[in-house]
Amino acid sequence: MPSIIAARGVEKIFRQPRRLPGFIGGLRTLFTREFTEVRAVDGISFDIAAGEATGYLGPNGAGKSTMIKMMTGILVPTAGTLSVLGREPHSNRILNAAEIGVVFGQRSQLWWDLPVRDSFDLNRHIYDIPAGRFTENLRYLTAMLDMGGYIDRPVRQLSLGQRMRAEIAMALLHDPKILFLDEPTIGLDVVAKDAVRKFLAEVNRERGTTIILTTHDLVDIEEICPRLIMVDDGKLLFDGELKRLRATLGSRRRLTLEFAGDPGPIILTSATLTADDGAAKHFLLEDESVSLLDVLEELGRGHGLKDVKLEEPDIEEVIRTFYKTKPQLAGAAP
């Protein structure tokens, strides 16, 4: 499939005049030629195909928002090339804007004092959406995002979850080819997060809208995005399927053996003991080829084994392991 977003060695360096403390310092700032440089995005390359859903993950200050701003054309890269839908986004800002939808979790695009519907209607004019298409989309979005109860209420009266759903609907009314979301689930409770995730996954699947979202919440990625791009300190750490990340790091499954009584120390070659609570013993399975059967075979009969629990590592743990072991892996990454 042809890629609709292509980043090649994209860099963004923020240069800010060095601020000196105090009033005199403030005045000197006007004349100083000293700058502090922040390398927010540092040589990032990737390709995104039409219809993909990609999660952009990284700790605070990793350069996620900066990258989104460059792809949406409101920030110019310092170096490298960036192409969105075949165009350079910042020099074609208006053309680009007409074909993408953007949601900033921290910044509202709705008209604060007016009913949600009025903001939607304004978008109909801004994007010149044909009347039939608009009605159809509005009906679909209202039903899918369950907005019927508050679409005629002023935005300032809405809960954060309701507002976020309205923001997402607003960004989709004009059938954008790509939907960019910068932390769309920030501040939402579990139920609201779930509604947003289900909806985004559905939009990606049913309508084929390409989705790129940044987040701190790994579940977002697990539920919406098969593909993960991980960045830290402006640099790309990992780009690929979530499954592959798990495989790269080894699955590190957790095994708990429960016995009727304390069987005394148990030593296995296939599993490493991590904690011993007497009747319950916890192990880590580092080697993926080891099966539960292998472990039980090695253990043998006669210990009064009562229960066995094998847990797949959750994504949080995978990522945490990744950050811990980052130095070696980053060296190995392309």
Partner: protein
């Protein structure tokens, strides 16, 4: 997008203001007090004489209303909005849309202003007309010319306010700039004292600055103090000023946008 999308912003801005319609009463009251204070001052200044330098008291009453509430609308709120939205980055929301931001500001402010004219200036004008009396335009031709001057006046004040808001982005102190502008406007626009009552040299100087097109020239045309050919000349000069200020605002905006997209604000 189509150009016809911009008027939708005028409607939206108007509707937004309608939400706070309960607040208009204080606006009407304030404007009414100010207008009657000015009328009282002019009544005292005329102290019984029918005519001062060819100007009558009814002329001045009408002048107070046109030059003040009608043409010299309050820019404070708008200037704050422009400066703040650039400084705190809210402007990026608009940059994400297929829109020209300055055009959006223009139509947005048109909606805000239409609201204020309808809810504040109109009631005040009706009350003044019923109590003290207002004059009609000096002639149908002056009435038509006034409409053209009114449009120029609106654009002039919009551009002056936009320039102030954009400058505030660099100077980071919208507050002092606003007060500075307010002082200049009170004197140079002719909203308080018409240029025809000012000393010759001052009037000649102010008569060539863009501020005079906000209040003085449109009001003078309405009252028939300028004949049609002279009005035409001043209309052209006003349009030239508009072009110059629009170019300056466009340049400042492109600098501000450059800074936003390159330095991230």
């Amino acid at each position: 997008m189509k150009v016809s999308a911009y008027p939708a912003f005028t409607v939206t801005a108007f509707l937004s203001r309608l939400v706070y319609r309960n607040q208009v009463w204080s606006g009407v009251f304030g404007e009414l007090v100010a207008t009657f204070a000015f009328i009282a001052v002019w009544t005292a200044a005329f102290s019984g004489s029918r005519n001062v330098d060819g100007v009558t008291l009814p002329d001045m009453v009408t002048y107070v209303l046109i030059a003040g509430p009608l043409l010299n609308w309050n820019t404070t709120r708008y200037i704050r909005e422009v400066g703040d939205s650039i400084r705190n980055g809210d402007v990026t929301v608009f940059l994400l849309k297929p829109l020209h931001y300055p055009a959006l500001l223009f139509f947005n402010q048109l909606g805000n202003n239409a609201f204020e004219q309808l809810t504040i200036t109109l009631p005040v004008a009706v009350i003044v007309a019923l109590t003290v009396g207002l004059l009609p335009p000096a002639s149908p031709a002056h009435g038509l010319l006034f409409l053209a001057f009114w449009a120029v006046s609106w654009c002039m004040l919009f551009l002056i306010a936009t320039l102030t808001g954009l400058l505030a982005f660099w100077l980071l102190t919208a507050f002092s700039l606003e007060w500075f502008l307010r002082g200049i406007m009170a004197l140079a626009s002719g909203a308080v004292v018409p240029l025809w009552f000012m000393p010759g040299a001052l009037a000649a100087l102010l008569g060539h600055l863009p501020f005079a097109w906000v209040s003085y020239y449109p009001s003078a045309v309405y009252l028939g103090k300028l004949d049609a050919p002279t009005s035409g000349v001043y209309l052209l000069i006003g349009l030239s000023w508009l072009a110059a200020l629009a170019a300056l605002a466009g340049w400042l905006w492109s600098r501000a946008r450059h800074r936003l997209v390159v330095q991230g604000g």
